[in-house]
Amino acid sequence: MIISKPAIAGTVESSDALVSVEPGDGKIELTLTSSVMNQYGRQIRETVLETLERLDVKSVKINVVDKGALDCTLKARVECAVFRSCDASEKDIPWGGVIK
């Protein structure tokens, strides 16, 4: 998917994450801050990058503010932000396809 405009999804409430995306320079630039950085920083990073790969996003600046979100929440927030940036978040979502 092509990130054509900035979009955000999520909150900074406990157990959630706030994900913002904007058009990139041909690569994936991830900035991550997390309340559980020491314990789970690497895992969060992996989940975010895997999700972007699944969505076939190759160029994006993505910022994640994690407040102890489970993997399933991180995935949901990244996917929603990406779909919002493509104006595709409201209907005909490929549940069980690239969203899994």
Binding site: D16, A76, R77, F83
Partner: protein, 304 residues
């Protein structure tokens, strides 16, 4: 991926707790509270500009979190909104046990949701007929059409009244004795029983008024409701206590069922148990008491 067993149309549903599907902190451990069903809400609890985000969150929660024996129902947005079709797709794809139709007013509303549910089942390779439906009656028209709504589909397992919207339409507010909703509750119960589906009361929203809450739950049981919608885990235990049959009721039911089997085998139709006349009309009630007692962990017989 957590595969959920095929939903049972008729199961124990004493407590159905609402949870905002958009709040990960709430839905990740909703099953620990011990309510019979959780109701993940895509409707009023979710702000208009977060409907899309709530669906992504719901999908992954359904696919990832093991809710165990807790039934998982999703409340979808009303048929007068642009959201309900995608809501149904995500419910079915995620494998929710059932869908609660908000603001249901007619059999046609049920059929509309049923058609979209079946289409989604085909799209996502889910067994056709797996996803159950229930309807929330929130308006005078919904109450007047309760019977046609209850009997509109084989997927329907029950109806619930939604007090907030209903009282607004009726220009009233909650009364301590429940007179504000007495007729509506009664009409809905009659319709549900006539159609052979379950019936659930509305939420009690004042969490500080536990006495008022208890009075309402007792009235619910006395009126014949199957269960109640809840907004907070602290409301669960009281419903389970009040809806559980008493020891006396269990013993009595056991005696009635046993006596009935013996007497009818001997060709007797009407007889007495502890001085009370008993005939076949008492048997379904007694059997129901025993099933409920077993579900509550109070009885371990094999009569039913």
């Amino acid at each position: 991926m957590i595969p959920r067993p095929k939903p049972e149309r008729f199961r124990l549903r004493r407590t159905m707790m609402f949870m905002n599907a958009q709040k990960p902190g709430l839905i990740k451990d909703a099953y620990i509270y011990g309510c019979d069903s959780i109701m993940l809400d895509l409707e009023d609890a979710v702000a208009e500009n977060q409907k899309d985000a709530a669906r992504f969150s719901l999908y992954h929660a359904l696919k990832t979190i093991d809710y165990g024996d807790t039934e998982v129902i999703v409340r979808i947005n009303g048929l007068d909104t642009p959201h309900w079709q995608e809501d149904i797709r995500v419910c079915v794809a995620g494998g929710a046990d059932g869908i609660r139709i908000a603001k249901c007013e007619s059999a046609q509303d049920v059929k509309t949701v049923e058609a979209a549910t079946e289409a989604a089942e085909r799209e996502f390779g889910v067994e056709v007929g797996r996803t159950l439906l229930m309807a929330a009656l929130e308006s005078p028209k919904g109450i007047l059409n309760a019977y046609e709504i209850c009997s509109a589909s084989d997927r329907m397992f029950g109806v619930a009244i939604s007090g907030g919207d209903f009282r607004k339409c009726m220009q009233t507010k909650p009364q301590p004795d429940g007179i504000d909703m007495l007729v509506a509750r009664g009409q809905m119960l009659i319709a549900a029983r006539a159609a052979g589906v379950q019936c659930f009361d509305t939420v009690f929203t004042n969490l500080d008024d536990m006495a008022g809450y208890e009075a309402e739950v007792r009235q619910n049981k006395a009126m014949g409701f199957d269960g109640k919608s809840l907004i907070n885990p602290k409301q669960i235990r009281l419903v389970h206590e009040i809806f559980a049959p008493t020891e006396k009721e269990i013993l009595q039911a056991e005696k009635i069922v046993r006596a009935y089997r013996e007497q009818s085998a001997a060709g007797v139709g009407v007889f007495t148990v502890d001085g009370k006349m008993i005939d076949i009309a008492f048997i379904p009630g007694a059997e129901r008491t025993l099933k409920l007692a077993r579900a509550c962990g109070l009885w371990e017989g094999d009569l039913v």
